[in-house]
């Protein structure tokens, strides 16, 4: 394929628009990981077949897009440009939609969103509460393009920012725009991107070498799928951002470090890089300027610590991904010992928009005032994966500074099943739990850190009142013990001690002195660990101790788990009032611990019960109780 010029870019864009105008509508089927797991591709195939059979192929086209965000309601389909959104699609619905909506012009009410407030149907996507309060910058193309077609991206204005940067801006002008924007790293640390680039440029100048540029797509936080969704939905936004960044810092070679566990994202990224090369948007003399830049992929193997900057660069050299000491900055000595800029997927996806609309425009979005210093606020938007005990799980993009309450209750639709929100966990495993009474906190880098948690890469896990916070702390510490690379003693040994104490507490063997011990050890790990991962590792214990001390005390002093989670402190019983002797639980009990004739009260033999909770899960009459 021949290289394209800036004029070609406009032509491709116009051609793309006129192609889509030829159709009455485009049927955008979400093919993000969640929807694919829910058979989205089968639905797409059926839709294509149905259109063919009914001779509608020239009127309608089917496009498989990246993640639309409303994962809880998948599989989804958007009829564009009119905006009708169909949810929870099943194979049988395909012909109904084609017959009723496309042929008869009557949108299918039964497949539309039902408002939980007044139970009315909401036909248009833009009117659904979940989408209403979002502001899409990073996810600007989500659900709107075929991520495997570069022309679709160009059709939405893609690569215009790169063209503008290369033809009309000097590298330091780009740096200035990024600095003006006040953008801080979206990977979790919140370090100002402009300052990072600037230090890399100056250390590269000192040593007279070309720096490297890396995109961190090693999303290691369990409960977070933002980066994966961005790459799956819009890989070119990341490539374009990286190319602009490379021009600004003078890099010739860039890498994306992405987990092998994300096969769909990996495949789409590979295709996108190849398409960009074919168009000459990566490679030698881009847009016939003197700027040359190419991107290669490094496939990471799953390890939480490998997402840490120095560890990631070590892994890129084919070695075990372990961190270096903190005093060596990767902007001075990173990949292969050369100055390296590392930013996360989301940060890179922001760059084209900052160049297109200007740093000033960007700096006005979000919280605080970043005009003097990026440290004085959090500008822009942030993508969160909103999951856990919440009605509308999915991927949301909101301006920084919005309150947790708005995210959880308005966008997320609140905690379902009549339960109460107990805490929101942010910041990944080494983040913290924010209690429900602090939900009015604005979500920005500094407020979350002050509250004992952190922004992290953007996982928001909502927990209802049936979750035990001591068990939650134990879960995260167990994870961190496994994932600690073991290089420095405070993290390696300290976490094991915390794990032992938490296991004791959840087993009902805790002692009052354990609380003090937990805080002491946590503080030591925090201060003495080698990398930031170790430094933040005690957060789960510290934040739950801070906000949920009563729950720890209940375990230690009363030997009770108030939430009814910790196995050693609970027992399952069957309520006389609710049990009607249906015989379902004895059938499912793996240990044959439940006895009782049909239509008679069932009882659990506590000596046999392993507290697996299956009886409670299968009982339709809420007869199994936890004490």
């Amino acid at each position: 394929m021949t290289k394209i010029t800036i004029t070609d870019l406009k032509q491709i864009s116009e051609r793309n628009k006129s192609t889509s105008e030829k159709f009455k509508a485009s049927l955008l089927v979400c093919a993000g990981t969640g929807c694919v797991a829910n058979k989205a591709f089968i639905i797409r195939d059926a839709l294509e077949k149905e259109l063919k059979e009914k001779n509608l192929e020239s009127d309608y086209r089917v496009i498989a897009t990246g993640c639309n965000g409303f994962c809880a309601q998948g599989p989804l389909m958007l009829v564009s440009p009119e905006g009708t959104l169909y949810l929870n699609l099943k194979l049988d619905d395909v012909s109904t939609i084609v017959d009723e909506h496309l042929i008869n012009g009557k949108p299918v009410q039964d497949l539309m969103y039902i408002s939980p407030v007044d139970e009315t149907r909401t036909p248009k996507m833009k009117d659904i509460q979940f989408f209403k309060q979002q502001q899409l910058i990073i996810l600007r193309n989500r659900g709107a393009i075929d991520p495997e077609q570069i022309d679709d991206y160009i059709g939405r204005g893609g690569y215009q920012a790169l063209a503008h940067a290369l033809s009309e801006m000097k590298p330091n002008e780009i740096l200035n725009e990024v600095k003006t924007s006040g953008i801080r790293g979206r990977g979790g640390g919140g370090f100002p991107t402009g300052i990072k680039w600037e230090s890399c440029i100056s250390s590269a100048k000192k040593t007279d070498v070309a720096p490297y540029l890396v995109c961190n797509a090693d999303e290691g936080d369990p409960g977070a799928f933002m980066d994966r969704s961005i790459i799956e939905a819009d890989p070119h936004s990341v490539i374009e951002g990286m190319a602009i960044g490379a021009y600004a810092i003078g890099a010739k070679e860039g890498f994306v470090y992405i987990r092998k566990e994300y096969p769909l994202a990996l495949e789409r990224l590979r295709k996108a890089i190849q398409q960009a090369r074919d168009y000459g948007l990566l490679g030698q003399k881009i847009f016939d300027t003197d700027f040359s830049f190419d991107i290669n992929i490094h496939q990471g193997a799953g390890a939480f610590v490998s997402g840490e900057s120095s560890a990631l660069m070590t892994a890129m050299e084919g070695k075990v991904g372990e961190p270096h000491s903190k005093y060596i900055h990767t902007v001075e000595s990173g990949y292969k010992g050369l100055p390296t800029v590392l930013n996360n997927v989301e940060t890179w996806a922001n760059i084209p928009v900052i160049i297109e609309k200007g740093g000033k425009w960007f700096s006005k979005i979000g919280s605080g005032d970043v005009s003097e210093s990026p440290w004085k606020g959090s500008s822009g938007t942030k993508v969160f994966s909103l999951v856990g005990d919440i009605a509308n799980t999915g991927l949301v993009e909101v301006p920084m500074g919005i309150t947790l309450e708005e995210i959880v209750n308005k966008i997320g639709g609140g905690v379902p099943e009549g339960r109460q929100c107990k805490a929101v966990q942010t910041g990944g495993p080494s983040g913290g739990c924010i209690p429900a009474d602090l939900l009015n906190l604005p979500v920005d880098f500094d407020t979350l850190t002050q509250a004992g948690s952190m922004m992290g890469s953007g996982g928001l896990i909502v927990m209802d009142d049936s979750r035990c916070m001591v068990d939650v702390a134990k879960y995260f510490i167990d994870f961190l013990v496994e994932e600690s690379c073991g290089k420095c003693t405070p993290c390696r040994e300290g976490l094991v001690i915390i794990k032992t104490i938490l296991a004791r507490v959840t087993n009902g063997l805790g002692e009052p002195s354990d609380l003090e011990m937990l805080s002491d050890i946590s503080e030591t790990i925090k201060n003495a660990s080698l990398c930031d991962l170790g430094g933040s590792a005690p957060n789960p214990a510290l934040s739950t101790l801070k906000y949920f001390k009563d729950e720890y005390k209940a375990h230690i002093i009363d030997k009770k788990c108030p939430a009814g989670v910790c196995k050693a402190l609970i027992q399952y019983t069957i309520s006389k009032e609710n049990c009607n002797g249906c015989g379902v639980c004895p059938k499912h009990c793996p240990e044959d611990a439940i006895s009782g004739e049909k239509k008679e009260l069932h009882t659990i033999d506590q000596s046999k019960c392993v507290k697996c909770g299956i009886c409670r899960e299968v009982c339709k009459f809420d007869a199994v109780e936890v004490e």
């Binding site: 290691g220 193997a301 999951v387 799980t393 939650v472």
Partner: protein, 156 residues
């Protein structure tokens, strides 16, 4: 036969030591483990020290020095799945199959392991059988679901 495959994998990555992890990933998917003799061979062909290869092969959970089963059942224990009861599911599967984490059935058919986050948090709790994802899993129904899925896989 083995040598051919190993050599083609090394060639795919140009024998570049920077891509040692990628080579091991390919070896793991080809043989379902990292055989000792393959480590020797990579080391000789690329000059990567054996210690480094063993370090990699034992550091990452994705690699195994013992053969894994033809099918892999993974229970996601990421935060969301944990909140939604993943460990109860893991325990019932372990009880059913008589396997601990990472263990393989004697006939080398199935390996059961838990993983941290498969990235479909909105479907939590999630388990996967090879590439197929089973969302909103329940301990009480998981056995039947798996049996059906296993059937599908076998008939392929």
């Amino acid at each position: 036969m083995k040598t051919d495959k190993v050599q083609s994998i090394i060639k795919k990555w140009n024998g570049d030591p920077n891509y040692a992890i990628e080579m091991l990933q390919d070896i793991q998917s080809e043989f379902r483990y990292i055989p000792k003799e393959v480590i020797e061979e990579i080391s000789e062909s690329t000059g990567i020290p054996r210690t480094q290869l063993y370090y990699l092969a034992t550091f990452y959970k994705a690699f195994s020095l013992k053969p894994r089963g033809e099918h892999e059942i993974q229970v996601c224990t990421g935060t969301t799945c944990y909140v939604k009861g993943a460990f109860r599911i893991l325990e019932s599967l372990q009880r059913k199959c008589g396997l601990s984490d990472g263990e393989t059935t004697d006939d080398l058919q199935y390996t059961l392991k838990y993983v941290r986050c498969l990235g479909c948090c909105s479907l939590a709790p999630v388990i996967s059988l090879d590439d197929a994802i089973i969302g909103k899993a329940k301990s009480s129904t998981i056995e039947g679901l798996l049996a059906r899925k296993v059937g599908e896989v076998d008939t392929k």
